[in-house]
Amino acid sequence: MNVLTDNFSTYGEGFLGTVELTVYSSVLALVLGFVMASFRVAPVGSIRVFGTAWVTVLRNTPLTLLFFAVLLGLPRFGLVLPFQVFAILALGCYTSAFICEALRSGINTVPTGQGEAARSLGMTFGQTLGLVVLPQAFRSVIPPVGSTLIALAKNSAIAGAFSVTELLGTYKTLSELGYNIVWTFVWIAVGYLIITLAISALFNVLERKWGIAR
């Protein structure tokens, strides 16, 4: 127990680091995933190919390899940024591929008749998209996006191994100070549980509010 009380600031720092990583990478992943999903359903062939390639490659890349390439590779091109920014980039790009697939399958669940009806009412493309297709897609997309973001929070642990301040990395500091290693890990586990359960609670609320009644 005193492992936590003695090192509350270390744990707090790590916890906040993980939360920060998760939030920033989620925003990046959601934006990039949305762009890629719109690429993948575009009527222009080459854009569609680009979206498909992005998703296929990133979904099949081990995240450690991506971290390795981004954190240690990009500086070779003279791009020097703080490690945390690199970590957000790697995590965000990786997760965007999964977000893209979730969004795309959400858009595909909207029946074709909905779009046809909207167009026959004289709605423009923007209206069809914003008033008819996206609201319906949004409802079916909540659960898969939620589980993707939980996976993102868990994956952020890899950043700790590349010397970014986050929760898992605290074990190193504490074991050097000679604290009981098992209890150190117990509190790390509790930290991760708090984050994943919080995300899952948030998406449960969203689902109850907007989800499809089944």
């Binding site: 359903v41 009527p43 222009v44 062939g45 080459s46 854009i47 569609r48 680009f50 296929t56 490659v57 979904r59 099949n60 890349t61 081990p62 995240l63 450690t64 390899l65 390795f68 390439a69 240690l72 590779g73 070779r76 091109f77 003279g78 858009i107 595909n108 909207v110 029946p111 074709t112 008749g113 909905q114 779009g115 046809e116 167009r119 493309f125 069809t128 998209l129 008819v132 297709v133 868990k154 994956n155 952020s156 642990a157 890899i158 700790g160 191994a161 898992l168 074990y171 074991s175 290693i181 098992v182 890990f185 790390i188 586990a189 991760y192 549980l193 994943t196 359960l197």
Partner: protein, 292 residues
Amino acid sequence: MTEASALYDIPGPRTRQRHFAYGVLSTVVILGLLGWILHLLFDTGQFTYTKWMPFEYKGIQELLLRGLGNTLKAFAIAGALSLALGGLLAAGRLSDHRPVRWLATVLVEFFRAMPVLVMIFFVFVALKVQPLPALVAGLTLYNGSVLAEVFRSGIGSVERGQREAAFALGMRKSQVMAHVLVPQAVRAMLPAIISQLVVALKDTSLGYLITYEEFLHAGKLIASNLDYDLPFIPVVLVISPIYIGMCMLLSWFAGWVSRREQRSPKTEAVDVAAAAPGTLLPGGDPPTAPGP
């Protein structure tokens, strides 16, 4: 686009022209982007002979192959053990005894909520074992719990009548499971199982972080060699296609299995013969036979 989407109408001639123009424009932009990356690679001297020289040496090639072998070894052991653990936990969750069910549920939920890396580090640091067992243990606990959920939902998706009929025939609980439910469930869940194995294959690269001598670790050794002018980018260019290729192959296999499963034997068995020439059919043209 082959499948109809709610988003776009079927394009007319002017729209098609516009799309063609967009297509040309975006191709130019994408090619420009690729060219810029290639230029950057050349500009920073990534294609010099010194940087690519190490790949000609037999020792280095063997190092890479040994790393690849270790990756595949970890994947094979972790895959087999996760399937076994998944089966065990799924059996626990489907058990008739409440304490067993409760215990299995807690285990599955806990290990699914934990990052794999935390488990791997815990086994590696706290229990002080070798890197390979630590990696395998972490991967097995995580993927086993996920697979347990896959198995459970697979068993649950078999029609209830099947189970009832089997019990009515006087089969025992284990017989119902082994002869009726599992064979039908495996068919439905095979794609999901293979997709989870792709995750396990990808996560073997976490072994790099606990100094297990796998593929990425071998790459890192070569990349940090000063004699070859730190060939970091060449190493990434060599190992990432191999990694991504392996995972894509397995993903493709999952997709292939899932497409195969979706083929319904009922509709395939009916082979419609083409109408003989001259046959008058109501409603226009004679139907063509479905493709093979």
